[in-house]
Amino acid sequence: MSPRFPIGARVSVTRAFPPGHVRTPFFVRGKTGIVTDIVGDFPNPEELAYGRDGLPARTLFRVTFLQCDLWPDYEGSAEDTTVVDIYEHWLQDAETLSQTAETGAREHV
């Protein structure tokens, strides 16, 4: 099966705070970055941690965030980045999301 996002896709990390052995750091939740690598499929570590089989396997992406998008008062170069390994079930297409947001805004007018 082809990965849900191609390299270069703009993706947003789900802003959710479930309990458990969650592998998505807090500081990127709700943030938008670019898929810069597709690592492969792995049994879901968030399930493996509880003795389950972690299947179906999930695709692991490397997502690159601009530091100034993560931290509004970032002191450093505007080019500085953080790259985080994130599983597909935490990611949404950022373009679709922003379109939905615009449609929602229009409906409210």
């Binding site: 592998r23 998505t24 750091p25 500081f27 690592v39 492969g40 792995f42 570590p45 692991l60 530091q67 993560l70 931290w71 970032y74 002191e75 450093g76 170069s77 080019e79 500085d80 980045t81 953080t82 790259v83 985080v84 390994d85 994130i86 599983y87």
Partner: protein, 219 residues
């Protein structure tokens, strides 16, 4: 620090000091933590129920303890002298390590290359993921909350505390490994090392420069 300085002066214990020198606390003097109790209980159960033997536990710990930055340094020195090897290493670190007779384990490892445009540094903000098979056990600071939280928040300030200043026109790229990958930095070969052979080059590669908090030693 005052008791450290006391080591320097001559102690005459016949005279009345009026105070007792504090001892360095033994391991057992701290609280016995929840995780220490759990670890010992799990070991006792696994051995008691014959899931593993004490011998297997000991030999596994010995394997873990045998890993050291020397392995990673050998890979990097080879990559510096052999561009084809470097390309294979950037593609697949474990198989490149195998070429040198180094067992890098089963967890995928990525080498991230420092260039004139990018300086890489690694962290695991969630726990302590680390390329142990090639660098050995992580230092305490790598597992500490201070490093894990600050290196993604203010990497340049953290690097500066390690004595590493990255020019502002070089991108600082932090790699946060969260679960299934490990990272090691492939530093740039220091200038002025054209005459050095592979073994001498490996001596320039420190643990910290493979984490990205430092640069290799100069020749």
């Amino acid at each position: 620090m005052s008791d450290m300085q006391d080591n320097g002066h001559h102690h005459d214990h016949d005279h009345a000091h009026g105070h007792r020198h504090p001892f360095q606390p033994d391991l057992e003097d701290g609280d016995y933590s929840y995780y220490q109790v759990m670890t010992e209980a799990v070991i006792e159960l696994l051995v008691g129920k014959k899931v593993i033997t004490a011998e297997e536990l000991r030999s596994t710990i010995e394997v873990i303890d045998s890993k050291s930055p020397v392995f990673g340094a050998r890979l990097i020195a080879r990559a510096w002298v052999d561009p084809a090897f470097k390309a294979r290493m950037l593609e697949d670190v474990i198989s490149a390590a195998g070429e040198l007779g180094i067992d890098a384990g089963a967890i995928p490892i990525r080498a991230v290359e420092n260039t004139t445009a990018v300086h890489n540094v690694i962290v695991c903000t969630l726990c302590s993921c680390y390329p142990r098979s090639l660098i050995g056990l992580p230092p305490d600071w790598y597992k500490a909350r201070a490093y894990r939280s600050r290196v993604v928040r203010e990497p340049r300030a953290v690097l500066k505390e390690f004595g590493t200043q990255i020019p502002v026109d070089v991108e600082v790229r932090v790699h946060d490994s969260t679960a299934d990958l490990r990272y090691m930095v492939l530093p740039a070969r220091p200038s002025g090392t054209g005459d050095l052979d592979e073994e001498a080059l490996a001596d320039l590669v420190t643990r910290d420069c493979m984490i990205g908090t430092a640069l290799p030693k100069s020749a």
